[in-house]
Symmetry: C2
C-alpha cells in the first residue's frame, strides 16, 4: 500500500487527450485510488476542466496542470513510465508488464524520486517521440485480439496496480537491498539539457548529415534514459561537452 | 494467467445497469482481458445492445444473455462474487479484498466450478437482496474519501486482476493442496430450491410471523451460501425437508 507521501511523488500525465469525458474518467480513477497530481499535455478540447465524468474529482481536475509538451510535464521526474500495448510496435525502451512493476517503482520511491505515469491519446496511444521521453514502457497485458483499452479504464487498471501493490516498505527495502546502493538518477529536464548540448556538439563536429538529426535526437534521448546518469554524472558530461563545443567552435573560427 | 478454458468458466453479470455506455465499456474491458460471457439483468434502457462504447466488443454485446433476476443469471454458478465498497454497509457475506482474490478463485477453477463476477447499478451498487445471492463480496480497495468507482472502470480493474493473477496451475495446485480435498459446492439454483423448500417448511411449521418471512429468506440465503453444501448434501437436506413438510401438512389435514 502506498503512503500519502509516496502518492504525492506520483503524477499522471495525459498526452493530447481528445475527449474531455475520458479526462474526467481518469481524474475520477485518480480520486478512487488516492492520487492528486494530474498534468494534461496539449488537450484537444479547451473546456476539458469542466468534464462531467470527473465525479467527486472536480477539484482535482480544476487543479490539474497544463503543459504544451510532454518534456515540460515530466521535467522533474526521475522515472517516466509510458503506457500502451506492443501489438503494433517494437519499442526502444525496456518493457515492464504492469503486474511486474512493483520492484522498479519501489526503488524509485525509495530513492525519493518523482514518478510520472504517461497515457497517450485515445486512438493511437503514445508516439515514438513521446516514448523517447520515457524510461520504460509499461504494458497492460491485454488480449491480442483486442489490445486497445479505453483511456479511463487503462488509467484505472494502472492506478489500482500502483495503489495496491507498490509502496510496501519491506518490499522497498528488499528491492533497495538487491540493488547495490543505486544513486538517484537525474531528472528528465537535466537529461534534456545534456541531450541538447550533445546534439549541438554533434552538429558542430559535422557528425552526420542534417537529415539524420531527428533520428539522432531520438536515439540520444532513449540512450540517456537507459543509462540513467545521476545529477553529478550529468554535470560532468555537460562539462566535457561544453569544453568540446568551445574547442570545435574556436577551431571553426580559426579556419574561417 | 488464465487459460482460455478457465476464462470460459467465468461470466460477468451486470445488475440493473442504467447507462448503455457503461454496459458497452464493460464489454470492451471484457474483450481486452479475454472474457466472453456477459449477462445483463433487468437493464433500464431497451437498446443497450447497440452501445457505441463497446469498441471491438460488438459481438460480445450482441451475444450477451439477458435475465430478469440475478438468481436466474447465476443459477449454474458455484462461486458468485459481488463487488462493491464497504463504506456504507456491513455485509452479511465474507469480504475478500480484490488483490487477495487469487486463491479463492483458483480453488473454484480447480473444482471445475462456474464463477460469476456481479456488478451493481451505477448509483448505489448491489442491494442487500442482490448480495444475499453472492458467496462473497469482493472489495476494490479505494480511497475512503472517494470510494465510488465508475462501472466500466470497476469492471476493468476486477478483470485485470483475474486475468493476470488467477489461473496459475501451480498456485491452483498449492491452493487445492492446502484445502483437504474440498468437494465442489452445489450451484446457486440448487441452493435456491433448497432454500424455498426450507421456507415452505418454516411456514408450514408456523415457525415465525408472516412479517418475518423476508428477513428469514435473506438470512437463509446467506447461510446456505456460507455453508456451501455439495450437490449430494443439498439433495439429502431436501429429502429431509420434503419428509418434514409432508408430515406437517398431513398433521394439519388431520386436525382440520
Amino acid at each position: 500500500m502506498l503512503t500519502a507521501a509516496q502518492r504525492d511523488h506520483i503524477q499522471v500525465v495525459l498526452v493530447r487527450p481528445r475527449n474531455p469525458l475520458n479526462i474526467g474518467a481518469v481524474a475520477r480513477a485518480m480520486a478512487n485510488f488516492g492520487f492528486a497530481h494530474l498534468t494534461v499535455v496539449a488537450p484537444y478540447e479547451p473546456h476539458w476542466r469542466e468534464a462531467r465524468s470527473a465525479i467527486q474529482a472536480e477539484s482535482l481536475l480544476q487543479n490539474a496542470n497544463r503543459a504544451e509538451h510532454l518534456a515540460a510535464a515530466v521535467a522533474d521526474c526521475t522515472l517516466v513510465l509510458g503506457t500502451g500495448t506492443l501489438t503494433h510496435r517494437k519499442p526502444d525502451q525496456r518493457v515492464v508488464p504492469l503486474p511486474a512493476l512493483t520492484p522498479e517503482l519501489d526503488r524509485a520511491l525509495a530513492a525519493n524520486g518523482h514518478i510520472a505515469l504517461v497515457l497517450g491519446p485515445e486512438k493511437h496511444g503514445l508516439t515514438r517521440e513521446d516514448l523517447s521521453l520515457c524510461h520504460a514502457l509499461v504494458e497492460i497485458p491485454t488480449d491480442a485480439r483486442q489490445p486497445s483499452m479505453n483511456l479511463g479504464q487503462a488509467a484505472a487498471v494502472c492506478l489500482y496496480e500502483l495503489a495496491t501493490r507498490c509502496g510496501d516498505p519491506s518490499a522497498a527495502g528488499a528491492a533497495a537491498a538487491s540493488v547495490p546502493a543505486a544513486p538517484a538518477p537525474a531528472p528528465s529536464s537535466t537529461l534534456d539539457r545534456l541531450g541538447a548540448l550533445i546534439e549541438q556538439t554533434m552538429a558542430a563536429a559535422g557528425y552526420s548529415p542534417r537529415a539524420m538529426q531527428p533520428a539522432n535526437r531520438h536515439d540520444l534521448r532513449v540512450l540517456l534514459r537507459r543509462l540513467a546518469p545521476t545529477p553529478l554524472d550529468a554535470r560532468r558530461m555537460m562539462g566535457l561537452f561544453r569544453r568540446i563545443l568551445f574547442r570545435l567552435n574556436r577551431n571553426a573560427g580559426f579556419r574561417s
